[in-house]
Amino acid sequence: MKITIETLIRNIKDYKIGTKIELSGIIYTARDQAHKRLVSLIDNSKQLPINLQNACIYYCGPCPRSSDKVIGSCGPTTSSRMDIYTPKMLSNGVKLLVGKGNRSKAVVEAIKQNKAIYLLATGGVGALISQKVKKAKLIAFEDLGPEAIYELVVEDFPLTVGIDCFGNNLFDEREKCF
């Protein structure tokens, strides 16, 4: 199902775990060190380099691009490393989280409380995902190299709902089956 970020946020309750979507809109890459800095800025009441209201955060550190391409390989990294920072990101406005793998109980609870959603991208297919990125712009923390924040305009990014806004978790469902 093709959908824009705005429509997804408006109808967030309709997107149950296991639903496959192709997402279009503006997303921001941020992984370990970028999260550490963002949360530190929040804690010190400083200005953030991106607006977190209704933002979509993608756990990704892309490869550099060659001159004929928008971006290099850009698949998801393991989300759980960001678990410690995520509740604060959500309480400050983030609505969509994109990554791979399971999350902590605290993150599931924070997703539920903030009516947010966690979307799964396929790991290890960064070349394929790079073709869904139409524009990429460096926004902040350039010194972090691959861990800098990039603004990406994506079209039809293939994702699966991993944790819905009611706190249902696709990984729990799998465990019940086996």
């Binding site: 550190g61 550099p64 393991t78 960064g126 691959p146 089956c177 086996f178």
Partner: protein, 279 residues
């Protein structure tokens, strides 16, 4: 004494960085293709996406995975080889630095584990040497992603725990973190040696081609048994359920102390980027 110029080593390593990051080894691709073709009950499109990605990466010269990894090298140096120019450690690292820059590969190494400043070169590499007969140098490169490396584990068992204890430890490690390591996995198990060497054994196990048999019949049977049990966990591709959690399980062993039974499991994601060249 045969002479090899370090410039040749640098150039070959530089090229290998692109080769392994743009092309999945044919044994890995063939294994996934066979699973998709032979088992129509597999409904997920994750394996299809992986195969699609292999084609795009090769055609467009884009890295298979954005985590182009720590560059690991396993080098066999013949005793009748003399290297002219830079020493081999410097040569390998120069090749990696040039290759990762030239071919738009991500630099994922930080200079200090606490301060975490990116070296911007993807070096230093991890380089392991074996000294052998002959007048050649064999260089095997494994670009290893961080996510799967983080799912790896090591434990000092006691001898009475035996194969049962080893299996339990490996299964538990995969149950705990396997879903985060981009399954379907390749599982490398090291048994024996000591605390320092067992991890390297597990890593070397990952260099084996899928479909290759362990030279020991007993260990070959144990590899099959382990693979079967891993695939009963139901973790499935990307941890979303299914009967394909691992493509292969390989075991490497070494003699050890009478008091010890070291075991290590090194997890490899489906994007198993490795290649061997001979100079």
């Amino acid at each position: 004494m045969r002479e090899i110029n370090s410039k040749d080593i640098i150039l070959q390593v530089e090229k290998m960085c692109a080769d392994i990051n743009y092309n999945l080894p044919s044994d890995v691709t063939a294994c996934i293709e066979a699973i998709v073709k032979n088992d129509k009950t597999i409904s997920d499109n994750i394996l299809q996406e992986i195969l699609q990605n292999v084609k795009i990466a090769q055609k467009e010269a884009v890295a298979l995975c954005q985590d182009t990894g720590t560059a690991n090298f396993f080098i066999k140096i013949g005793k009748d080889v003399n290297i002219i120019g830079d020493d081999i450690n410097i040569s390998i690292n120069k090749g990696v630095e040039r290759g990762y820059k030239k071919y738009f590969l991500r630099k994922s190494i930080v200079s200090d584990p606490i301060d975490r400043i990116n070296t911007q070169t993807n070096t230093p590499s991890n380089i392991y040497f074996d000294f052998v007969d002959g007048d050649k140098i064999e260089i095997t490169m494994l670009a290893k992603g961080g996510g799967s490396e983080n799912a790896s584990a090591l434990k000092m068992l006691v001898p009475s725990e035996g194969w049962k204890g080893i299996k339990q430890f490996v299964i538990e490690a995969i149950k705990q973190k396997g879903a985060n390591a981009c399954p379907p996995l390749i599982v490398g198990v090291g048994i024996g040696g000591d605390f320092a060497s067992v991890g390297l054994l597990a890593k070397k196990a990952l260099l084996r081609e899928i479909g290759s048999n362990n030279i020991s019949k007993d260990y070959s049977d144990r590899e099959n048994e382990l693979l079967e049990e891993i695939n009963k966990l139901g973790i499935g591709p990307m941890g979303l359920g299914g009967k394909i959690t691992a493509l292969a399980a390989f075991i490497e062993t070494k003699p050890c102390h009478i008091a010890s039974l070291p075991v290590a499991v090194n997890i490899q994601c489906h994007s198993c980027r490795r290649k061997t060249i001979i100079l």
